[in-house]
Amino acid sequence: MSMLEVKDLSIHFGGVKAVQNVSFSIDAGIVYAVIGPNGAGKTTLFNLITGVYKPTSGEIKLDGESIGGKSPNELATRGVARTFQNLQICMNMSAIENVMVGAHLRLDRNLIKAALRLPSLKRRDAEMREEAAELMRFVGLDKFVDSRADAMPYGALKRLEIARALAMKPRLIFLDEPAAGLNANETIEVDHLVRKVADSGVTVVLVEHDMKMVMNLSERILVLDYGKKLAEGTGEEVRKNPDVIAAYLGAHE
């Protein structure tokens, strides 16, 4: 059975149909890519599935259970994590604290206990800090473990978002253009990182413009154009699809 099932999903902003009747499903354990020209509705699709936007119509099912219209924090409790195309880092916190926030649901959030600094809470927090540092090393941010978030370069912040998402111990992770704005070397590193994440058993959904990375990593690819599904299949299938070729040749280079 597939992990995520999307059926006839649509959202309209006023008269703009940003996503229209899109259907697809994702099996557990794979890397799934969503591609398409700018403005095709890729990020909107992510926003819909992760609860940031409420769909106008259609159905989203996670493990057979309907999650359409649920809030992002409810989805987080079901193991759905994501990163953002435009960075959403908390610049008022240190780098490691950003990662620790990712573990929000795994920690005791009680206000009273926190104010009294109960030993149990303190101990768990110290463990979490160690785990967060470990995650930062996992994504290649060894030298930023003690850094402030607002002192980090762009490429490092991209990875910090991945570390934060991983701190949730997610089952399904949405990566929105993890390589955007990175140089060739950094892109290769992110490519390896995504592979490592997938190998650790997390299902990965990826929006990315770097075709080499997409073809290299993903088992299946969904192509969007003007908010509609243009094609879906393996890299090979998608590459040969005449509609895709037309769309990319017409709208792109």
């Binding site: 902003f13 990020t43 926003n47 940031v52 936007y53 953002f84 435009n86 959403q88």
Partner: protein, 291 residues
């Protein structure tokens, strides 16, 4: 019955027009800069107090009134240049504190200069009340309503038919895009403060013959103008005008039928109810954040 109702309505609409002008002032500045200008009420006070001062100094009424509008406009510009422009893009709280600081300075200066007394201004065209269905309407109320109506029409013309007005409107929709097409957004900010201050002052002048004035009337008038702007859906010009009238009328009705000692609380009860049940104001639009 009807007479009483009309009486409340007249006084509500009159004071509501002042709120409407203040609310327009809030709206102009909010649209240009996303700042809530807590000094808006002080411009209302300045208008009234300066009008009193200049008429008592023996200047002919039209000259006195003109000065009482021009000077607050200049004060508005000074506030913008010295206090708002240097901190562009600061946090909301910071901007609120700055405008509150500005309001204290203005109020304090007037208090030092003109004292703590209450002043009145002679009505522009006599005090002979007009009888309408058993209710009385002061001629000054007609002045308030007439001038407000003219101002609203003039503003509508300015924003929809002149290049400068359209530039200001464009800036409120999308600052970056406005800059890209060559609009001087810094000029827009400057104009917004000047116009807001002038609008506030005008309201203050018009209503002073009815409500009297003193150095500290600005706080409540300003806050009620803010309520009116939010009632109308923050940023919506027509909404601000309707919001002002609505707040004025409800306040007068509440004071008349329910309790006059809770008169000042009525606008705030209204706004809490609106925020609870119609969070974007009565005339506000819908917006979605992009991430």
């Amino acid at each position: 019955m009807l007479a009483q109702f009309l009486q409340f309505l007249f006084s509500g609409v009159t004071v509501g027009a002042t709120y409407a002008l203040a609310a327009l002032g809030f709206t102009l500045i909010y649209n240009a800069s996303n700042v809530i200008n807590f000094a808006q009420g002080e411009f209302i006070m300045l208008g009234g107090m300066l009008a009193v001062y200049f008429t008592q100094a023996g200047l002919p009424l039209p000259v006195a009134l003109l000065l009482a509008i021009l000077i607050p406009a200049i004060v508005g510009i000074i506030v913008e240049k010295l206090a708002i422009e240097p901190v562009k893009g600061a946090e909301t709280v910071t901007l609120i504190i700055i405008t509150i600081g500005a309001s204290l300075v203005i109020r304090g200066l007037i208090q030092v200069w003109l004292g703590k007394n209450t002043f009145s201004l002679p009505a522009f065209s006599g005090d002979e009340p007009i009888q309408i269905l058993g209710a009385t309407l002061l001629p000054q109320s007609l002045w308030v309503l007439g001038v407000t109506a003219i101002v609203v029409v003039a503003l509508w013309y300015f924003f929809n038919r002149t290049l400068q007005g359209k530039a200001m409107l464009a800036t409120s929709f999308n600052r970056v895009a406005a800059e890209l097409v060559g609009i001087n957004t810094s000029w827009v900010l400057f104009m917004s403060f000047a116009m807001s201050a002038a609008l506030g002052a005008l309201g203050g002048i018009l209503v002073t013959p009815i409500t009297l004035t003193s150095y500290d009337v600005g706080i409540m008038l300003g806050l009620k103008g803010f309520v009116a702007a939010v009632v109308g859906g923050l940023g919506n010009g027509l909404g601000a005008v309707l919001g002002g009238l609505l707040v004025g009328i409800l306040e007068a009705m509440g004071a008349g039928y329910i309790s006059s000692s809770y008169k000042d609380a009525i606008p705030f009860v209204l706004i809490l109810l609106i925020l609870f049940f119609m969070p974007r104001g009565l005339f506000g639009g819908k917006s979605t954040d992009r991430v």
